[in-house]
Assembly symmetry: C2
Homo-oligomer: 281 residues x 2
């Protein structure tokens, strides 16, 4: 007897998970595997052209679930701040062209030599205020992604879901939401209550999954684990997010050179199988 | 004009900061530099003999501010748990022999294959309950050290000061306290209120300082920064701890191979100078 095919209707693959696949091959492989969603990155989208990428996704029946990423709002100087805002407006235009409603934002770390975390966090709020109307006009929501505290100095001063919600709630829910990413949040015992809070307020803009594995590599950027290989209770997370009222895509986003060395289509098939085994049900 | 000599009366050096120095050389160098405190580790103390180490410290006018470390309480099997408790009783005996009132505890990570963080945290509480009376009889306080969330899976399931206090407060303050370590806690915006809470309840058993620098090395264990080299507002931390009523030692604990490669006495002198510049005042 064959097992019934798993329900992949909510699955989305973030393209960085299989960065070895050029966009057209990725789109074709997703369609073949029955994965209906894709999360895209600005670099490859710009290279391919946002309109062409949108057409490619449509031709393969794919929904673009998010664009990664805007943000990096924490610079203190006015010229740098202006550049960051301009770049985020361009990202919002690209997101609109792709037809995705979600621009993922990584806040940025501490400016060189600074030790002022609260000040940097306040500049993130300033940028959200400035970008909010522009985003709303384009039908794109700004999605604040709290990153693991190990990135607080050099990448993202927003480290917990609670902090991200405190920021988001200064703005209307249709303008600013949050990203719930298991890799960044799994250690935090307050996450269940914060997921409930986010869901009740309609703030969950994206749900991303990756597993936590050790040892962490130098620089700690490229050490995410394939689903099921690590310490995260992925199914428990998914159930909490669902119970909070979220019905959107589940986007797998894994940065790991060991996945990139393999055949992309094979990694995609494995990921769909791991999703069925460790996230669904 | 010479500047007045800095007040080193609260400074303690954790021996791992200059692990290149054997215990007798370390003790002599500390006395020469005018550093009155030392934090010791079980390995070198066992090798030298706890009573001999206590005598050495006394002969050089040094106070042993802490012993590192007990803990690793999260194993699920009864035999492993019994071994861990026995080992912690031995550590308490060693701490008593050294005349220090503080045994630093690193809780332990998730057992192999487990994804149950709440369960592991509960086993830490069980161990504290079991060891509490034994510790109190020896005049040693169990000091729960929250470690940075990047260690949650493989080293310490207690990741925030709030969590450590929730655990500690199940027990009398004279039995169980917490360690406030800037390296582990600097990113957490709730730390100011948690330091105030810890101080008000007399729960601050130790205050340790190191700076946060990136990129993190592979395994993320040996990447702590010399005071002043990184992102942590060390002076702000020290002021908060003081304002909470803590009057004990300030222990510098830096794990960094670049310090170990240098002349130990020179690192010690630099550390005292950095302490004066970045922690005092």
């Amino acid at each position: 007897m064959n097992r019934p095919a798993p329900d992949l209707s909510r699955l989305s693959l973030n393209q960085e998970t299989v960065r070895q696949l050029p966009l057209p091959e990725l789109a074709a492989a997703l369609e073949r595997t029955g994965v209906p969603g894709v999360g895209l990155w600005r670099g490859p989208v710009q290279q391919y052209g946002p309109e062409a990428a949108a057409r490619l996704a449509r031709d393969h029946g794919l929904t673009v679930t998010s664009l990664c990423r805007g943000g990096f709002f924490t610079a203190a100087g006015p010229a740098e701040r202006r550049r960051a805002l301009d770049d985020n407006r361009a990202a919002l235009d690209e997101a609109a062209a792709l037809g995705t409603g979600t621009l993922v934002l990584v806040s940025g770390g501490l400016p060189d030599g600074s030790r002022d975390l609260p000040g940097a966090r306040e500049r993130v709020a300033d940028a959200l205020a400035e970008l909010g109307p522009y985003a709303q006009e384009r039908g794109v929501r700004l999605a604040i992604e709290p990153l693991h505290p190990m990135y607080a100095s050099d990448r993202c001063v927003v480290s917990t879901l609670g902090q991200a919600l405190d920021l988001a709630e200064r703005f209307p829910a249709e303008r600013v939401g949050v990203v719930v990413d298991t890799y960044h949040l799994w250690w935090d015992e307050r996450v269940p209550e914060q997921i409930a809070r986010a869901g009740a307020a309609g703030r969950i803009a994206a749900f991303q999954v990756a597993d936590w594995v050790t040892p962490l590599p130098e620089g700690v950027l490229l050490g995410r684990g394939q689903l099921g290989d690590g310490s995260v209770d992925l199914r428990g997370f998914r159930r909490q997010v669902d119970a909070a009222g979220y019905q959107g895509p589940v986007e797998v986003e894994i940065f790991n050179p060991r996945l990139w060395e393999r055949d992309g289509a094979e990694v995609l098939a494995q990921t769909a199988q791991r999703y069925a085994e460790h996230v669904l049900g």
